[in-house]
């Protein structure tokens, strides 16, 4: 397995910075802090993994970056420009091109009543980034080919496709905008093993071909091992550990990370049956906890 670490790249250009992000849901007594002071940077060209279980806040972070969810505090900076909070219309429109998202459920992320042609070109219609009808259609066909579908699929409806193919349509819809940053929100969780493998291969190929940067949100750490350069582990709205992929797996420090890793079932009977499960008891921090750099590039949440 080829290991591409962030420290292999000399020029670490930061494409996205999340600074002390806070997101709250609900009002009054029912107020719930989904994201509680999360900070990290994403380098151009890397695949940044955001790992956590349900309720960790990982999806919320993705949505906050895309401005679907309001932020309560902190800032998100993209290519040096602040994109959280109130921004002007021009920037808003520009962001629709630069940052896009691929969703989890291929059955729910496409409009059943629209043709694939419309679905894939929806963003183009909004930003009018095409010269004429012919040009637009050509763009659609290219996007479909890029994701492994055929041009004539543009005239079909979503229900005529399998889950994996529908997910490809969702990817085509995102890449046709020529984004710089793609947020992938559990893009393979609803797929079969073989399909998952194909889609992950597709993501890897597209990243090379189209110069993309990925933020890969998932609960499946083993998946991240095969695609992510760096991983941030999130628990209850806070990053508990952040490190290069291999370092995280070889030397997990935070107890939650260790519990998570030990809980992942390994497809190896002898290993699995003899494994000791590491249980995480939520830590009580005495002082406000901070991310401490324990070794180069490896951060752990501590008092």
């Amino acid at each position: 397995m080829i290991y591409i670490g962030a420290d292999c790249m000399d020029k670490k250009e930061i494409i996205l910075e999340v600074k002390d992000l806070k997101v709250e849901y609900g009002k009054g007594k029912k107020r719930f802090t989904a994201v509680d002071g999360v900070s990290f940077s994403v380098y151009k060209g890397e695949t940044f993994g955001l790992a956590g279980e349900s309720g960790s806040g990982k999806t919320t972070i993705g949505r906050a970056i895309l401005r679907i969810v309001e932020t309560k505090g902190g800032a998100i900076v993209f290519n040096g420009i602040k994109i959280s909070g109130k921004i002007d219309r021009k920037l808003d429109r520009e962001l629709k091109r630069s940052i896009q998202m691929v969703f989890q459920d291929p059955m729910a992320s496409l409009n059943e009543r629209a043709k694939v042609d419309y679905i894939v070109s929806e963003g183009l219609y909004n930003t009018k980034k095409y010269i004429d009808e012919f040009h637009r259609r050509k763009k659609v066909e290219k996007a479909l080919l890029d994701v492994g579908l055929l041009p004539q699929h543009a005239d079909c409806f979503p229900h005529e496709f399998s889950g994996g193919q529908r997910q490809r349509i969702g990817i085509a819809r995102a890449i046709i905008m020529e984004p710089e940053l793609l947020i992938l929100d559990e893009p393979t969780s609803a797929l079969d093993i073989s399909t998952r493998y194909q889609i992950i291969s597709l993501f890897k190929a597209l990243k090379e071909k189209l110069n993309l940067t990925y933020i890969f949100i998932t609960h499946d750490l083993s998946l991240l091992r095969s695609i992510a350069d760096r991983i941030a582990v999130i628990y209850r709205g806070k990053i508990v550990e952040l490190a290069d992929t291999e370092r995280l797996f070889k030397n997990p420090i935070h107890p939650y990370t260790r519990a998570l890793l030990s809980a992942i079932p390994v497809p190896d009977p002898v290993v699995e049956k003899n494994k000791v499960l590491y249980i995480y008891n939520p830590l009580l921090y005495n002082n406000p906890p901070r991310l401490v750099e324990v070794e180069e590039g490896h951060f752990v949440l501590r008092d």
Binding site: A108, A114, E122, Y125, D155
Partner: protein, 292 residues
């Protein structure tokens, strides 16, 4: 994969055509409506309001059973039942269709805004709750009482509150759909709200709306009958199914005169059953799971 031949409406129509029962009712209603429109222009039709008098005795031809001269007989003051029935059906159906169209158009617009625009959600919910808590019947009675009896009054009173139901149904569906992933995807792609509503949400509302609309028609006629029953309906000079049923109500105990109740009641039943059948069949046909 070849070019998709799938079209939602084609499949819906095809599925609808498979249901022989509803096709029958649809054909029945079509014939029915055509008939009642052209009926006054057919030869030998009598006027609904003229009181017929026996040539020889000079007495009014009251309460005559259905016969050769008067196909549906005459009522208690000598008017031709045949003409009255069809005139009444025309009036009632007219009211019913106008009210149904209005209810559903307004209900749709308000329901969509209510469900989609989060900022207005609370306000509209409060308005809805206030109006909904007032019994519709009381509002109908009050309005009908204060305004001059007539077709427009009828239509007005029913339209004031009729949109509530549709709005609520539409709003519930919109609320469920608006947070589905494909709608969030549209927002991220920068699609403006009106286009999201038009392309992503409206198609899912169509079948519900058509069902509601087809059922609104008999419901509106039913309200009209009810108001007439309590004396707040149309004046007697404008025959309607409500009037006719009300008139005939008194004769239920007299076997020979029962026709004055049975005939309008049967017409009302046929209309109601037909629209229910058509509406339900359409709702089933428009469900994509029933396609192919």
């Amino acid at each position: 994969m070849m070019n998709s031949g799938y079209s939602y409406w084609n499949s819906t129509i095809r599925a609808f055509m498979k249901n022989k029962v509803s096709l029958f009712f649809m054909a029945l209603m079509a014939v029915f409506i055509v008939f009642i429109i052209i009926q006054p222009y057919l030869p030998n039709q009598k006027s609904p309001n003229v009181i017929y008098v026996d040539d020889t005795t000079g007495l009014q031809l009251i309460n005559m059973p259905p016969g050769r001269e008067f196909w549906f007989g005459t009522n208690s003051i000598g008017q031709d039942m045949w003409a009255r029935i069809w005139s009444g059906t025309r009036t009632s159906l007219f009211i019913g269709i106008i009210v149904a169209l209005w209810e559903n158009a307004i209900g749709l617009i308000i329901g969509v805004i209510w469900g989609y625009v989060r900022r207005l959600e609370n306000i509209i919910t409060s308005i809805y709750n206030v109006i909904n808590n007032l019994p519709r019947v009381i509002i109908l009675i009050l309005l009908a009482y204060t305004m001059k009896p007539g077709v427009l009054t009828m239509i007005f009173t029913m339209c004031i509150t009729g949109w509530l139901d549709t709005a609520r149904i539409v709003r519930n569906i919109v609320v469920i759909i608006r947070d589905r992933e494909y709608n969030i995807a549209s927002r991220i792609l920068g699609t403006p709200a009106y286009r999201i509503i038009y392309r992503n949400i409206l198609p899912y509302l169509v079948s519900v709306l058509v069902l509601k609309a087809t059922l609104s028609i008999p419901a509106a006629i039913g309200y009209e009958v009810f108001l007439t029953y309590i004396g707040l309906g149309l004046p007697l000079s404008i025959p309607s199914l409500g009037n006719l049923i009300n008139e005939g109500r008194g004769y239920i105990t007299v076997p020979s005169l029962r026709y004055q109740l049975m005939i309008p009641a049967m017409v009302l039943s046929i209309i109601t059953v037909s629209f229910y059948a058509i509406g339900n069949a359409f709702a089933d046909a428009s469900d994509p799971r029933n396609h192919f």
